[in-house]
C-alpha cells in the first residue's frame, strides 16, 4: 500500500493523510461556526474552571448560594489540607510505579508479538490473531469474579503483582504496532538479514526506532489506563497502603465528607499530571484514537 516512507524517517500513522477540506465558507457562516464551536467548548470546559475556582474558596464561600463565580481570596492551603487528609503521597507513588511497570510490560510484549505477526510465518498465525482481536469483545465484568479467585489462589491478592501483571499485554497495542511494522519495507529487513542482523537486533535497532509514534501512543494509553483505573484496583487490593490514586480519591469523598472545596482540590491535583501529559503529547492521543476508528 503506502511504501513511500524513507527508511530513516519514522513511519506515519495510517490516519495521518493529507486532509481534504470543503470550500471556504462565507464570512457570516464562518462567524456562526466559530461562535457555536466556541460556545460548545466553553460549556465543555466549564467543569474544569468550576473545579479550580471552587478548590481555592474558603469553606464558607464554597457553600454560598448563589455561588460566586470568582474566589474572593485564593486559598492555596486547601491543597495542603486535602493532601494531608489522606495518604495521597502513597497513592501517587503506587500509581506511578504500577503505571510505569504496566507500560513497560505492554511495550515489551506487544513489540515481540507484533514482530512475530508481521515477520514470522508460523502455523496458525492468522487464527491466533483473529482470536486475539475477538477477546476485545469480552466484557470486563465477566472476568472480574474469576480473576479475583485466581489472584487469591496465586496469593497475589493485595500485591503489586495483581495490579501490574494482568495488564502487561494489550491487543490494541499489538494491532497498532503491527500496522506500523507492516509499512516497513521488506527490503530493509532483507538487507539487515544479509548483514547478519538477527531478529531481535532488527526489532530493537530498526523496527522499533521507526515506529516511535506508535510506541509513544501505546505508552501513553497504557500509562493513562493505569492512572485512571478504578474497578480493578478496588477489587484486587484491600489495604490503604496498596490503594491506587483513583481508589484513594473515591474513598476521599467519605474522608473529606461535605468539604467540597477539598474534593475539588483533590480532584485538581490528581488530574493535573494527566492534563499536563495531554497538553505536551496530544497529537499522539488523537492519532491513536483516529487509527482505532478507521481500522476498527
Amino acid at each position: 500500500m503506502r511504501r513511500e516512507s524513507v527508511a530513516t524517517r519514522p513511519v506515519a500513522f495510517p490516519a495521518e493523510r493529507r486532509r481534504r477540506r470543503l470550500a471556504l465558507p462565507s464570512i457570516p457562516a464562518r462567524l456562526l461556526l466559530h461562535l457555536s464551536l466556541l460556545g460548545g467548548a466553553i460549556l465543555l470546559l466549564f467543569p474544569f474552571y468550576w473545579m479550580v475556582t471552587t478548590s481555592l474558596k474558603t469553606p464558607e464561600e464554597a457553600s454560598l448560594f448563589p455561588p460566586t463565580m470568582w474566589p474572593a481570596s485564593w486559598r492555596i492551603e486547601n491543597y495542603v489540607t486535602a493532601w494531608n487528609l489522606a495518604p495521597f503521597g502513597r497513592y501517587f507513588i503506587n500509581t506511578v510505579f504500577v503505571a510505569c511497570m504496566q507500560t513497560l510490560g505492554v511495550l515489551t510484549t506487544s513489540a515481540l508479538a507484533a514482530y512475530a505477526f508481521t515477520r514470522i510465518n508460523f502455523a496458525g498465525k492468522n487464527l491466533v490473531f483473529v482470536g486475539l482481536l475477538g477477546t476485545m469483545m469480552i466484557p470486563f465484568e465477566v472476568t472480574l469474579v474469576p480473576n479475583f479467585i485466581i489472584l487469591k489462589h496465586l496469593h497475589w491478592y493485595n500485591s503489586f503483582l495483581a495490579l501490574i501483571v494482568p495488564w502487561t499485554a494489550s491487543v490494541f497495542a499489538i494491532f497498532l504496532l503491527r500496522q506500523f511494522f507492516r509499512s516497513i519495507p521488506r527490503d530493509l529487513y532483507d538487507a539487515a538479514e544479509m548483514d547478519g542482523c538477527g531478529r531481535l537486533a532488527f526489532l530493537w535497532r530498526i523496527a522499533l526506532p521507526l515506529s516511535k509514534p506508535a510506541l509513544i501512543t501505546i505508552g501513553l494509553f497504557s500509562f493513562l489506563g493505569a492512572w485512571n483505573a478504578l474497578l480493578w484496583p478496588l477489587i484486587v487490593t484491600g489495604d490503604e497502603e496498596m490503594r491506587m490514586l483513583q481508589v484513594g480519591l473515591s474513598a476521599f469523598q467519605s474522608e473529606a465528607q461535605t468539604q467540597y472545596h477539598l474534593w475539588m482540590a483533590a480532584a485538581t491535583f490528581t488530574m493535573a499530571p494527566v492534563i499536563a501529559i495531554y497538553f505536551v503529547a496530544q497529537r499522539y492521543f488523537i492519532e491513536g484514537v483516529s487509527a482505532s476508528g478507521i481500522k476498527g
Binding site: L22, L33, L144, P146, L230, V274
Partner: protein, 325 residues
Amino acid sequence: MPWNVTLRRRSYVNWRETGIGYLYILPALAVILIFHFLPIFYAFYISLFNWRIKQGPFIGLANYETAIMNPDFWGSIKVTIFYAAGIIPATLALSFLIAYALFQRIRGRNLYRMMYFLPFVTATVAAALVWRWIFHSQYGILNFVLGKLGVPAQGWLLEPRGILELAFGALGVALPDWAAGPSLALVSIIIFTIWRDLGFGVVVMLAGLSNISSEVYDAARVDGAGEWTLLRNITIPLLSPTLFFLVIVSTIEAFQSFNPIYIMTDPNWGGPLNTTLNATMYIFQNFFQFTKLGYASAVAFVLFFIVLGLTILQIRVLGRRVHYN
C-alpha cells in the same frame, strides 16, 4: 529465474519458524489467555455453585433461575438499557455536528479538537466528583443557572422520580409507573457520560471524514449538488463505517459502565431507590458487598450473552447498510 518461482511457500509447516513465532507471541498470549480469555470458562464454572467466600455445593443452574426470577436483576437491565439509549444517540448526533463543523475550512480546528477531547482524557473519578458538585441539590451551580431561567431547583443525583413523571407532573398530569422514564438521577449520570465521551466521537468521526476522497465531492459538485445533498448523499453514506464502529464500541462501553455510577452515587451505590443500579453495579454489589460470587458470575454471564447478542444484531441489521468505498 524459474528455479526461484517454483519454490512454493506455505505448502508445508516450517516447525522451526512456528516454534520461534510462538516464542515471540508467548508473553502477550499468556497474559491475555490467563487473565482475559480463560476466566470466561471459569466464570461459567463458578456460576454453577453456591460460591460465597469459598466454593460451596454444586447447584446447577439455580443461580440463573434466581436471577431471572429477581425483579432487582430486571431492574438493573432496565437501567442499563435506559443508560445506553440515553448516551449513544445523543453522543453520536452531537459529535457528528461538532466533527462536521470542525471539518469545514476554518482556523483553529486543532485547538478546538484538543479542547473537545480533553474530558475524555481526564480521569473519570475526578471528573465525576466535579460533576457531583455541579449537580449538588443545595449549592450546585446547575440549580443556580436554571433558577435564573425560571426552572425550579431539582434534586438531580438524589432524585429517584422519572424525568417524564417530573415533566408531566409539572403540567399537572399524573403518569402511570411504567411510563415514568429514567430517574433524574440516572439522567444526571447520562449527561456526565455524554460530556466525557463526546470528544472520542468527534476525533473518530473527524478521522473518518478526512478519509473520504475529495474526488467524490468534486464530481458531485460539478454535477451541481448543493451542500445539503453532499451531506446526505455522500458524507453520511461514506462515513457509515465510522458510525457503525462507534455504535458497536459505545454499546459495549455503555453496557459495562461502572465508574460514573460508583462515584456519583457514593456511598449509596446504585441509588436513589436503585434507579441508577445498572447491570455492572448489580454484579459488583452481589460480588463485593454481598460476597455472592456464584450469583454474580451467573448475572455477568447473562449480561455477556446480552451484549454478544446485541453486537451480532447490530452487525446484521446495521452492517448491511454500511457502505465501504
